[in-house]
Structure formats: structure tokens, C-alpha cells
Subunit: 179 residues, 2 copies
């Protein structure tokens, strides 16, 4: 069913035009068969999106700085992969117009990675590498925001090697000229 949906999308069907009926037909199964596994189109689409994901980053768990680089480097590579795949780009671009689906994707797929980031940051606060007085959500945004802004919102901008390191180190050190 997931493959059938991907095939339809690849053939140019829009996310909005996709229906359980159409997917069932393309997969050669009855509608009821699809509904046994997914309550509706959004749930099925979520699994379609999940099938396009690579396994998440695996921070080594030694230095918090290095783990942050690993996570941002994963985001950078994912941004590059998305740019190289017309299908992924088309699906993800359309998702912005399907707010509920985008939110479900964010809460189910992206949230796992965000929790990983939060756990690294908590470790950094606990072991004294990271300031303890910063709101954890803001902390996460400071590291991921610059990478997401380039990868997703400004797709034509470069995602050069070394970008993850530069973001992490600059956010850690700050940009104020001291002393």
C-alpha cells in the first residue's frame, strides 16, 4: 500500500488528490484492507513519509559538543538528500499546505529526533558544558533553527561541509565580542 501510494505520488499525483480508494486500487486490494491497517489517509501518508526517512543520528555520547555536531550533520545530510530527490521535495513541499499532516509528521517522526537532541542538551546542562539558565526549547531552536532555515526554507542556499560544526561552535561560544 505504501509502495502504491509512493508510485502514485511519483507519477505526479498530489498529496491532496490521493485517496484511500485510489491507493487501494493501485495496490490491487479492497478499500477495507487499507482501512484495516490505517484509520484514514493522513495515517497512511504518515507511514509513507516515514518510509522515506533514513535511520536517525547516533550520537557517540561522549562529548556534548560532538553529539550536537552529529545531530546537525544528520540534518544537513537529510537536507541534501531531499534536494536530490524530486519525490521527497515534492511531497515535503506539499505538506506545508496540509497543516494537520505536517503537524502529525512533526509530532511523530521529527519529535523522536527532537527528543534525542533534548536529551543531549540535558546531559550538557547536567555535566556543566551548557548553561543551565536557558529555556530548553529555546536552546534546541538555537542549534536547529539555523540549519532548518537553510535546508528547508532557503533550499537554494548551500549546505557546505563543516556547517554543522560551525553552527554548534558559534552557538556555544556566542557571537558577542568579549574582551
Amino acid at each position: 500500500m505504501i509502495e502504491a501510494a509512493l508510485r502514485l505520488l511519483e507519477e505526479g499525483a498530489s498529496v491532496g488528490a490521493l485517496s484511500i480508494e485510489g491507493i487501494a486500487r493501485a495496490a490491487g486490494v479492497a478499500k477495507a484492507t487499507v482501512y484495516r491497517r490505517w484509520p484514514g489517509k493522513d495515517a497512511l501518508m504518515l507511514d509513507v513519509l516515514r518510509s522515506l526517512e533514513e535511520p536517525g543520528p547516533r550520537p557517540a555520547g561522549v562529548s556534548v559538543r560532538d553529539d550536537l555536531v552529529t545531530i546537525l550533520e544528520f540534518m544537513r545530510r537529510r537536507g541534501l538528500a531531499k534536494r536530490n530527490s524530486a519525490l521527497m521535495r515534492s511531497i515535503l513541499a506539499q505538506m506545508h499546505a496540509h497543516r494537520e499532516l505536517w503537524r502529525a509528521y512533526d509530532e511523530n517522526v521529527i519529535e523522536v529526533r527532537r527528543e534525542l537532541l533534548r536529551s543531549v542538551l540535558r546531559r550538557g546542562v547536567a555535566n556543566g558544558e551548557i548553561r543551565a539558565d536557558t529555556d530548553p526549547e529555546l536552546l534546541a531552536d538555537l542549534f536547529t533553527g539555523p540549519m532548518l532555515s537553510r535546508a528547508i526554507l532557503h533550499e537554494w542556499r548551500e549546505l557546505p561541509e563543516g556547517l554543522a560544526e560551525r553552527i554548534v561552535d558559534t552557538v556555544l561560544e556566542g557571537v558577542s565580542a568579549r574582551g
Copy 2:
């Protein structure tokens, strides 16, 4: 013509379905009249988008830190305005799927504000408030990325008062726990 296009969009027409012909008809003018002012649909859409923008931020030009807050506060308010306008939200969400239009919008409308941000950052580097060893593009992303990520990519997250100040001050100081 711009009003006619906005009316069509408000009535539920998609950006993709909009045509010069349809806009001319809705405005009660000949197609040639539209083409005299705009070479094509994308150019007209760009002016439609421009008509939805508020005047940009006006930094006071005294403290670089305060000017950065003014610029980020403008972004925060714009994010809130977008959330309150079904029309703006729908148009901007659809733009992600119209890559060329999104890029043109970014290069024409957003670029003016980005140049304002860059000029503030250059002033900060020149007067010693900002580190001189950071790539200017990265510097700009560090401030705007966290705000954009919340305002555009995670529309359901809060944009509380004081967020602009917190981002600016934390990026300036850094999040590393130093002595």
C-alpha cells in the same frame, strides 16, 4: 488586478489554479491590460504577496543588540499576523510548493529585510560589539533561524512576548557554561 487576485485566492482558488486570464476576467479588464504591467503570473503573484506585507522594521541605530531585537520582534509579529490571517497562511503555505515563486519572493521581498539585518551586523562587527571572525551569512542565520523555525516551520508553537530579546541575548552570549 491585485485585488482581483486576492479575491480569487480568498474565495479558495489555489495559487496553481490562478491564471492571468482568470485574474483579468475577475478584474473586468482585458488580458493585454494585465500583461502591460506584469510579464507573467509569477510577477503578478509577487506583487500580490508584496501587498500583504507590512512596512519593515525600523531599527533605531543606536545599540546593535537593540536593533537585532527590533528586527526579530518584527519577525515575531509577522509570524503572529500570518497565523491570524487564513488568507496569508494559505498563500504562504502554497508557496512552498511553487519553488520559483518562493525564491522570487525571498529574493525580492525578504532580501530587503535581510540586507537590513546584515547592515546591523556589519555595524556590530565594526564597532566591536560582534565577533569579527564569523561568516556574515552564518551570523544572520543564527539570529533569524530560531525565529523562522518557530514562526514558519512549527506554526503551532508559541511566539511569546520577549522571545526576540531572549534569542538575541542568548546568541550574543552563547550557551556554553563558562567559568
